[in-house]
Symmetry: C2
């Protein structure tokens, strides 16, 4: 089933397609973080990616597969976070019109970033119905194509390229870890491991305050709405329909971490790797630290998802 | 005169000697920082160096040139900052005993870092006389060799390797910028440019609240004591005796920046490069921003000196 939805060739093509537009982000290591985690950890730094997160990968892959007639009419999404910035940038980079529906209480800095990449911003009430209404309005008016943040094979295939690059650089990993929100990055990572490093297990980290993927994974039934409460504000969404079956088939486990664990992991990454990440990005490393006995002495790849954080609100 | 003190061969030998022990740090770029500075900037990231600063270069070079009999007796320095950590690490790495004299009011985190690298810490009153007394005591007792933080040809030659690596990666720079405190990094950078990129100018940034190098440079007489007042706590020292003549001969200018300019530059680097740096490290970029009209459209290398910052005390 997996092979029919997103094949090995789909992943390779996606990577080839988006490569010229994106950064090949570095893989960092730290002797001190290895000592603390009692394993050997390779951090794939998507905080250095265009627009500051891996989301630029999926957005670019989706746009490059639009038919010319659709592309000319432009694209639209709703987002208060990294996907909005990524889509705005990818559209500007490819010369396509872009509209982004944002909740009226979105942080000004995020609104400014989306506008800075040349997209037109439309404000709506901060609820899903208002977002979807705003989206439908633009689609009707302009004939724009909706580019979803995670629930689409083109998005998933694009996000897979981060793990593919990590595996090219460090082929013999025992384990690959990623955060899970909507599941675009996690499903892509699981597919990349399945095709290119079948020996490596894939385990996700999820905030305990937004544990819908955990509950979906272990119950076998996708939780489609929840009331998240966590500082990891990039992981508030619920698991997508396309994402869930891939994760069920190819992921070995999901570990929940509390906010204080996320803050500790985040601080260690600032102090030891000397890089700026957002709270969501620290979740898989927090999961590793929580269960370090279980993963002791393994070679572990961690996808660091992004670095778009309000510096005035660092949690330490 | 310069050639007699530290030759081109000295620099090459230093780089070859220390290379196997150190990180070859990355050179980062940002389209957005280029747009803001109206030039093309290449950041050499010594915040990713062993111990979190370029100081590991000079310390390693100095230790590798000790005679065996001296090395066996160990090394000693006084430091409340990056040099203490760097020397402790370099000594541990090479299997030498190391003592560090630290002021009794040194931040606990810095004391812990020095101890973490296996050095023996001795506390003294927080003044120069007490530091020197502590130093003399260890030297008398153990026969240790004093490794100064900046005022020595071996230290200067080691620090030069950061700019040498930058020039290997980006040979056609118009300008190289570095911060100046005691002048180890600046003198090394100026020598590297002199020998390996004579077309490139070298300009330093200095905090206005610790402007002894600026005053020394433009008056022609070395200011040997001052009362610094700046948040850039890695640049409080006065220019060294060996460092000053090299800087006089080979540096084209020193630009003073106020603390708010340092904070602005530091914040931009966190936001756009997504890396953690200490305030002192932001000084040359602050200097570039202050005088961006003067350097417009140039290709500029900036040595980012270090990333050892107390995250609880970030100035933004």
């Amino acid at each position: 089933m997996i092979n029919k939805l997103i094949s090995e060739v789909d992943l390779k093509n996606a990577h080839d397609r988006i490569g010229p537009h994106l950064h090949r982000t570095p893989v960092l290591k730290s002797a001190q973080l290895n000592a603390i985690s009692e394993s050997e950890v390779f951090f794939k730094c998507e905080n250095f990616q265009k627009t500051g997160s891996f989301k630029a990968r999926g957005a670019t892959n989706a746009l490059l597969q639009l038919k010319e007639s659709a592309a000319a009419k432009g694209v639209v999404t709703h987002s208060s976070g990294n996907h909005g910035q990524a889509l705005a940038w990818a559209a500007q980079n490819l010369g396509l019109p872009c509209d982004v529906i944002m909740p009226e209480n979105a942080p000004l800095v995020k609104v400014a970033a989306v506008k800075g990449y040349g997209a037109q911003v439309h404000f709506c009430k901060p609820n899903l119905a208002a977002r979807e209404e705003g989206l439908a309005e633009i689609q009707n008016k302009k004939g724009s194509t909706f580019i979803p943040p995670y629930d689409h094979p083109h998005i998933i295939a694009g996000q897979a390229s981060a793990a593919m690059e990590l595996l090219e650089e460090v082929p013999d990993l025992d384990l690959i870890m990623a955060p899970v929100g909507g599941g675009g990055l996690l499903a892509g990572t699981a597919l990349a491991s399945h095709y290119f490093a079948p020996r490596a297990a894939v385990v996700a980290g999820e905030p305990a305050g937004a544990d819908d993927a955990f509950r979906s994974f272990y119950s076998g039934e996708r939780v489609s709405s929840h009331q998240p409460n966590t500082l990891a504000d990039g992981l508030l969404t619920t698991l997508g329909e396309h994402n869930f079956p891939i994760i069920q088939d190819l992921v070995q486990g999901i570990i929940c971490v509390e906010d204080p664990e996320i803050i500790d992991a985040m601080k260690l990454i600032y102090q030891r790797l000397k890089i700026v990440i957002e709270p969501s990005c620290a979740v898989p490393f927090a999961a590793l630290l929580q269960q370090k006995e279980r993963f002791k002495n393994r070679r572990i790849g961690i996808i660091l998802s992004g670095g778009n954080v309000d510096l005035a609100k660092l949690p330490f």
